[in-house]
């Protein structure tokens, strides 16, 4: 049922996009053709989409995971920043060989972003502060803190608004040296393809196992469905909420870390939020809050965002039509009320 809702909502969203373009005097057929070709006509495009989708899959997974415990993680944005900051910082500061450096930096990023996410859970558990409010605050605190950190001596790259580049052994762009003879794969590996997507897929699997096969997931979902009955059944609801937010935080933080280690290699001063967390909410909703749904929806959103840029240059059509489409899709998902009802 949920899959049908998602698919028909996506279809309707694309239709709304077409309508908006049409009204604006832009041929929707042409626009969608440009997008389609801009996404799939060359192997390197596909590679770029994968790069683009990786953080979205993980922030989507993060939001979806918290949703299953009945929590609305608007804080994915801030957790992403903390993950990125940690990865950049330790990536600059540590000089270990890759086999040590990469796991260490990843673990530390997960650790700090997990704590950051868990903080919102703790504030809810201990003081009854709604996670929507606390995570909004934490998002801004993360942003300004990261901006502050970028400018600290020894981390700041002089004469720029960015940090130093991470130590090369922190990089997860393992495929740089692959030089396939096959034309397709050689084109595919031309963009900075990195191992992030593999880690994202592993995360999807792990979360799926947690939610569906473990007693831990059983209790998390039980809290999400009905906290009161869970409390009667002896489940420590507050603890489960905090744990859920820790995991959600570390997933978003992982997205940030992988982005630094695989794509940007450093972090910069941010004037505003980059929107990875918000896009994660869209991914979770389109993927009906399931791990595999997040994977597919993450790719879908990544494709839209990547190929959407191309109508700007090719047709002079505003690429923000993508945002309108996403909004419309979420709107249609909201309507049939198939989304889990809160008790």
């Amino acid at each position: 049922m949920k899959i049908i809702t998602s698919i028909s909502s996506v279809f309707l969203g694309l239709l709304v996009g077409a309508l908006i373009l049409k009204i604006s005097g832009i041929s929707p057929l042409e626009a969608y053709q440009v997008m389609w070709e801009g996404a799939f006509s060359k192997p390197q495009y596909i590679a770029y989409i994968i790069i683009r989708s990786t953080p979205l899959i993980l922030t989507g997974l993060s939001v979806a995971f918290a949703f299953r415990t009945g929590l609305f993680n608007i804080g994915s944005e801030g957790q992403f920043i903390i993950g990125a900051l940690s990865a950049a910082y330790f990536g600059v500061k540590f000089h270990y060989p890759a086999y040590l450096q990469i796991p260490l930096v990843l673990l530390l990023s997960i650790f700090f972003s997990g704590i950051y996410g868990g903080l919102a859970g703790l504030l809810k558990a201990k003081f009854g502060i709604h996670e929507v409010i606390s995570t909004i605050m934490l998002n801004w605190i993360a942003l300004y803190f990261s901006n502050y950190a970028v400018m600290t001596e020894g981390f700041h790259r002089p004469y720029t608004e960015t940090s130093e580049f991470i130590n090369p052994t922190t990089s997860i762009t393992f495929f740089e040296n692959i030089k396939p003879t096959n034309q397709f794969w050689s084109d595919f590996f031309r963009p900075p393809v990195n191992a992030g997507i593999l880690i994202a897929i592993i995360s999807i699997l792990v979360v799926w196992i947690i939610l569906n096969k473990t007693t831990f997931g059983f209790k998390l979902k039980s809290v999400g469905f009905n906290p009161e009955a869970s409390r009667y059944a002896g489940i420590n609801v507050e603890k489960k909420m905090t744990q859920s937010m820790i995991i959600a935080g570390s997933l978003s933080g992982l997205a940030g870390a992988l982005h630094v280690m695989g794509v940007s290699k450093n972090i910069a001063i941010l004037a505003a939020h980059e929107g990875y967390g918000f896009d994660g909410i869209a991914v979770a909703l389109i993927g009906s809050n399931t791990p595999f749904g997040s994977l597919i929806a993450g790719f879908f959103l990544g494709t839209l965002k990547y190929s959407g840029q191309k109508i700007q240059s090719a047709l002079d059509a505003p690429s923000e039509v993508i945002l309108i489409m996403i909004g419309a899709i979420i709107f249609f998902i909201a309507i049939p009320n198939l989304w889990r009802k809160k008790s």
Binding site: F127, Y144, F278, G327
Partner: protein, 291 residues
């Protein structure tokens, strides 16, 4: 003395858009509908206000257009959450994407592919009165007006009943959906005014980073204000003041605090204050619940 005046006016300047928008959120939530889409509504209002003010040369028409734009977009939220009984958080979230997307899309369409509207000339902006933008007086008046609605009028009594116990309102012969719809539309109008008060008074154009999170701060403010117009006003002033403090302290050269770290102050303070007053006991009882 100058410092105090500076802090005072900067506080009011930052608080004004928040007051409008938080009052909007308050209307909607009092009637039992969560409106997490205030950010999108503000953005939409900000764009239309600046667009119409440019086209007509009248900032007042622009202000009205900003409110109306918010109202129309909020109509989608009303449709989804009242008529179709959708999950209010999800449809509110859709507004955030739609509001931002539509504003930027239309901006590029109307202004040669740029994501900023051209600046308004000084006489095309909203005027100031006694050294402050007129919007602050409007915001204060609206706070009083909404207080009056809530406490003295038939409409207010019914609207609050609908947010507390819709079945009881239904049994009293009231059309629940009517009151909720009016409240959500009003919230769109007010959030639109909030956006407009930024784009045609405080600054002189619309740009993508103009709103950046203030719609969400407005939600925090109304929770902070325990769902009362008068306390919500103070919550907004508190936010405005802490922003003003950041700018004020940032301007002091002998103070060796990073301006970035200072910027976290309002958010830290909010968390600390929220910890102080444990649980949202005064939330409307039927908030977010359909039927």
């Amino acid at each position: 003395m100058n410092d105090i005046i500076f802090l005072f006016s900067t506080t009011l300047m930052y608080a004004t858009p928040l007051i409008f928008t938080a009052l909007g959120g308050l209307m909607s939530e009092k009637a039992g509908i969560i409106n997490i889409g205030l950010e999108g509504l503000m953005t939409f209002g900000a764009f239309f206000a600046s667009f119409i003010a440019l086209k007509t040369g009248s900032p007042w028409t622009g202000l009205l257009a900003g409110g109306t734009a918010g109202l129309i977009l909020a109509g989608l939220h009303a449709l989804a959450s009242i008529k179709f009984k959708s999950n209010q958080v999800v449809s509110g979230m859709a507004l955030n994407f739609l509001g931002t997307g539509l504003s930027l899309f239309l901006c590029r369409l109307f202004f040669d592919g740029t994501s900023m509207t051209p600046p308004l000339s000084l006489d095309n902006k909203l005027p100031t009165f006694m050294g402050q933008y007129v919007t602050i007086y409007l915001a204060l008046f609206l706070t009083f007006f909404i207080w009056l609605i809530f406490n003295k009028t038939v409409f207010g009594l019914r609207m609050i009943s609908v947010g507390d116990h819709p079945k009881a309102s239904d049994a009293a012969g009231l059309t629940v959906s009517l009151y909720r719809t009016i409240a959500v539309l009003a919230s769109g109008f007010l959030a639109g005014l909030g956006g407009a008060s930024l784009s045609i008074a405080i600054v002189s154009n619309f740009r993508p980073t103009l709103i950046s999170g203030q719609g969400f701060i407005a939600i925090a403010a109304l929770i902070f204000g325990k769902w009362k117009p008068e306390s919500t006003l103070f919550a907004c002033l508190f936010f405005g003041f802490s922003q003003a403090l950041v700018i004020f302290l940032g301007g002091k050269e002998n103070l060796h605090i990073s301006s970035q770290l200072l910027s976290t102050l309002p958010y830290f303070l909010t968390l600390v204050v929220l910890i102080g007053f444990i649980k949202n006991m005064s939330a409307p009882r039927a908030l977010g619940i359909n039927e």
